[in-house]
């Protein structure tokens, strides 16, 4: 309701900064149904294709002295493997393929979304919520399968004084169920906010066409701001992928070793 009541001319904006997040069908202009091919589908497919190109085609040579692409693939592999081992422990390594998949998918979706005219799939809560729910379900199921009812010991902080434990248990239960919410909104929020800021400045950049007076000041400043924020976004794209995966490892550690 908010977006369409704003008149773009009123603010001197050429387009609305939130327009980039619109889900549109790829072919025709009909309704978006469950199986409609949309720009989300396209960019997710491109993400998977890029990962495939890096990991499968990049390492196809299996050279002893790796090529540049193979080096990057090996670097990513070692990076995630070390992270899983450090945070979740040796027995967490069974989940390494899952966590590697998560990391690469989010990283590539974030970075591909930074291309001009691209669509950032991870800026949609619908996408990140599925990723976070999968992590949440995996962790809960693994916890109960490995420890049975002992997994509930996660909520019973034995190191705290006895009268305090029920209160802490309540807080722990709430924080446990808030995990998928914060896990998904953190990624979507960071991506959406960053891209919206870039587009706000991008909308101000052609000001010089509209007026040569204030445009002389606004246009160069906006272009400078776009460049700076773009660099920051590149950093954020990596950090958010890293944070998502490392939190997955932390949750996994809780499931594998629930006792405080």
């Amino acid at each position: 309701m908010a977006i369409d009541t704003v008149d773009p001319d009123e603010f001197g904006l050429v387009f609305h900064p939130m327009d980039q997040f619109m889900v549109k069908p790829l072919f025709g202009a009909g309704e978006v149904g469950i199986f409609t091919l949309t720009n989300v589908t396209l960019w997710m497919a491109l993400t998977v294709a890029a990962i495939f190109a890096l990991l499968v085609m990049g390492t196809a040579g299996r050279a002893t002295i790796p090529s540049r692409t193979q080096s990057i693939a090996e670097l990513a592999y070692d990076f995630v493997r070390k992270m899983v081992e450090d945070v979740a422990g040796k027995d967490g390594l069974v989940f390494f393929p899952y966590i590697m998949t998560l990391f690469l998918f989010i990283l590539f979706a974030n970075v591909l979304g930074l291309l001009p005219m691209a669509f950032t799939t991870t800026s949609h809560i619908a996408v990140t919520a599925v990723l976070a729910m999968m992590v949440f379900l995996t962790v809960t199921i693994v916890g109960f399968v490995r420890h049975g009812a002992g997994f509930l010991g996660l909520f019973w902080v034995t190191s705290a004084p006895l009268p305090l434990r029920p209160v802490l248990a309540l807080i722990e239960v709430i924080s446990y169920f808030v995990r998928p919410v914060s896990h998904s909104i953190r990624l979507a929020g960071n991506m959406m906010a960053g891209h919206a800021v870039v587009k706000v400045f991008a909308a101000f950049a052609p000001m010089i066409i509209l007026s040569t007076g204030i445009g002389l000041l606004v246009t160069p400043l906006s272009i400078l701001a776009i460049a700076t924020i773009y660099a920051l976004e590149l950093l954020v794209a990596f950090i958010q992928a890293y944070v998502f995966t490392i939190l997955t490892c932390v949750y996994l550690k809780d499931a594998l070793h629930p006792h405080h």
């Binding site: 309701m1 908010a2 945070v87 914060s182 909104i185 953190r186 960071n190 944070v243 490392i246």
Partner: protein, 78 residues
């Protein structure tokens, strides 16, 4: 202009929810600042603690993100 007081309240609320950003900023600044202070005292131990740094930042940031969630709910769901 029509007096749609519910919509007005939702917009004001969404704007007020932005104050949560300040809290998250203080939290993230605290984590990063204390990490730097500790890292300068014992630089050799700092490398192994970057994961902890990012986990701390992520948890501090999560509550700021919730204010963003409240703003979104007020804008589009109320």
């Amino acid at each position: 202009m029509e007096g749609d007081i519910v919509q007005m309240g939702a917009y004001i609320g969404a704007g007020l929810a932005c104050m949560g950003m300040g809290g998250a900023a203080i939290g993230v600044g605290n984590v990063a600042g204390n990490f730097l202070a500790g890292a300068l005292r014992n630089p050799s131990a700092a490398g192994g603690q970057t994961a902890t740094l990012f986990i701390g930042i992520a948890f501090a940031e999560a509550l700021g993100i919730f204010s963003f969630l409240v703003a979104l709910l007020l804008m589009f769901a109320v």
